[in-house]
Amino acid sequence: MADNRRESDGGAARRRSVGVVGNTRLTSLVGTTLLVLLVLQVASAVVFALLSYNVAALGGPVYDVVRPVHFFVGFLLMPLIAIKLVSTGYRFGRYYTRDRAYHEAGPPRPVPRLIAPILIASAVTLFASGVEMWSFRNQFGYAWTAIHNTAAFVFVVALTIHIIVHVREANREAAADLASIPVTGAGTDIAAHEPLGGAVTRRALLGGGLAAGAVLGVGASGFPVASWNFLQPLRPGAAPFDFPLMNYEGGAQRVDVAAWRLRIAGTVAKPVEITEEQLLALPMEEHTYAISCVDGWTAVRTWRGVPMTTVLRMAGAADDFGHVLVRSTSGYFWDHARSHVLTPGTLLCTHIDGRRLNDDHGYPVRLIIPGLVGKSQIKWVDGLVIGRGGPQSFIGPHLDFKDPVVTGHLLPANPAGHRR
């Protein structure tokens, strides 16, 4: 936000050019609007991040509401932040190219001047990583979540300082601009509180930024109507499983079940290998509950499979085990806490709505835990590694994919993804 000092010097206000004051007022108008939206966005981010590790933590439909709101406000913010960067960048450029009016107006005060590069860098990183995750869904690695979260932390700290320094002046300038009646033919010098030409242009920029952001936000989030998600329609699952397919696990696998084994190792009495035939012969349970995805959909399905507790007992898992790393043939895992895998209804799922899984949805077996976000519900499971203590990490590629207990058992890619 540009500094717009009106220093009293024996009662004489510093007089600045129309351009400088107009620039300050545009920055202030956009800044005060951003303040409100950023408060909402920080709040939605906190709830969204909390629930992305446990959808059911707050109960009710909170996740289904906060998730599209976070995407919507994120995209809504982008044009306004772009306008603000251009507005302050213009001032920056004019000052350092020694434009007389901007040079006489002076630089920002030391604290905001020092904070500005951190604020800009963290904002650009924050939004770029957010768009990357929204757009590519971890196709280019799993570091983006950490980058996004770290940038968010730095951004919020820098933003708080920025707001404290600028909010009073920004509100004053924005109020002056909104209350003013545009005057044409103003003089070359003008006091900051006087009506100033260009007010209509500034309001149009603010309104246009909001409108463009709203269109982007609706298109990206499907908020408030899911079908309006025109920028990224969800890919429907292959029939009969008509819920969207995600790419968190490297794309659909095509597992050769003749070679495939479900291996259970770690802190167990006896490592176990289970064939598909043996797995299907075990006692099964059926439960109906929802699966929710960070990408913006929720589907209620009936899941049938072998209770996790059954296979843990078969291998003689240590009584005090603390976590189970669930691995996929795709090279993806999720290390689940004990409380997750012991949640009633947790299954090594083989059937959805009475039909055997297909390749897209995790054939021959996928994990399903009530209340957890979809990206932790590993598909094409080929290994459970049980350990003491807490989970080592939540997400990432196999750290031990070359471990002998995991062997190759994939057929050539089958883009159709239909096995049976």
Binding site: V39, A43, A57, L58, G60, V62, R172, A175, L178
Partner: protein, 38 residues
């Protein structure tokens, strides 16, 4: 500051404080919901 500017300023500050207050209330509600769910 003219009366018109002052009323506009009050509106701006009111909206900002309202947003902060709304988020604070929402946080309390969420916390209560979570307590009840447990």
């Amino acid at each position: 500051m003219s009366p018109r500017e002052r009323s506009t300023w009050r509106l701006l500050v009111g909206v900002q404080l309202g947003a902060v207050a709304a988020v604070a209330v929402a946080a309390v509600v969420v916390w209560l919901l979570r307590s009840c769910a447990c």
